[in-house]
């Protein structure tokens, strides 16, 4: 998929674990894991908003469009 989730890198940058993020955004660890591993087919605006708030970042910091480079 040309859109790549870079949640892992952002978590590393913020020195935060996935479990801590799950607790902060009130999303199950399983669902966050689906997102982190790039298995998700779609992301809700509410999820994106919660993630950006918890990680203090912009949507572009956790989602990258790779296009033909992928």
């Amino acid at each position: 998929m040309p859109v790549v989730v870079t949640l892992d890198a952002m978590l590393h940058e913020r020195r935060m674990t996935l479990t801590e993020l799950a607790a902060a955004v009130d999303i199950s660890l399983a669902n966050l894991s689906i997102l982190k591993t790039g298995k998700a087919r779609a992301i809700r605006f509410s999820t994106l908003e919660a993630l950006c708030t918890a990680l203090d970042c912009q949507p572009g910091d956790i989602l990258h469009f790779e296009g033909d480079e992928a």
Binding site: I27, L32, I34, L35, A40, R41, I43, R44, T47
Partner: protein, 173 residues
């Protein structure tokens, strides 16, 4: 819960009808060759009932062909009941919107179409028996049946789309 009771009731009815239909199919499978074995007795009975003017050979042929036609009709009905029973089971299990159920509904649609074609043939038999002056049930085209064929195919598409949408939603975070 009310819904559970309705599903249990539907399941019971379907199982009973499935068995009754199977028995009927077996009955027709046995009756067809038996009509040759007991051909003389059958002819005597028909003449006793309708008189010597009856075209016995024609009446026997019509009866035998009717019994032969009943077998594929019974198989089509069996396909409807079996698939419906499986769909009811998935509703009870709480996961009915699956691609498998869409395929089952499409199979039901084809089986209903086969039943409708059998019904048309039954109309032909009714006319034949009328010509032979043999008592037979009345027949009129089943518009509801044709609508049910369409509904089954449309519902199959709805289920397929629903299953795809649900799969998408399952991977939406």
């Amino acid at each position: 819960m009310g819904d559970d009771r309705i599903l249990t009731f539907a399941r019971t009815i379907l199982r009973v009808m499935l068995i009754v239909n199977l028995l009927a199919v077996v009955g027709f499978v046995i009756a067809t060759p038996a009509s040759f074995l007991f051909g003389t007795a059958l002819s005597t009975h028909l003449i006793a009932k309708y008189g010597a003017t009856l075209d016995v050979a024609g009446a026997l042929l019509a009866l035998r062909l009717l019994m032969v036609m009943a077998v594929p009709c019974g198989i089509a009905i069996d396909v409807v009941f079996r698939n419906l029973l499986r769909i009811v089971d998935t509703v009870r299990e709480g996961d009915p919107f699956t691609a498998v159920n869409a395929t089952r509904l499409r199979a039901i649609g084809w089986a209903l179409l086969a039943i409708q074609l059998c019904d048309l043939l039954l109309g032909g038999f009714t006319a034949w028996f009328a010509v032979l002056h043999v008592q037979f049930s009345t027949w009129s085209p089943s518009f509801g049946g044709w609508i049910s064929v369409l509904m089954a195919f449309v519902l199959a598409h709805v289920f397929r789309r629903g299953a795809a949408m649900r799969d998408d939603l399952a991977m939406t975070v």
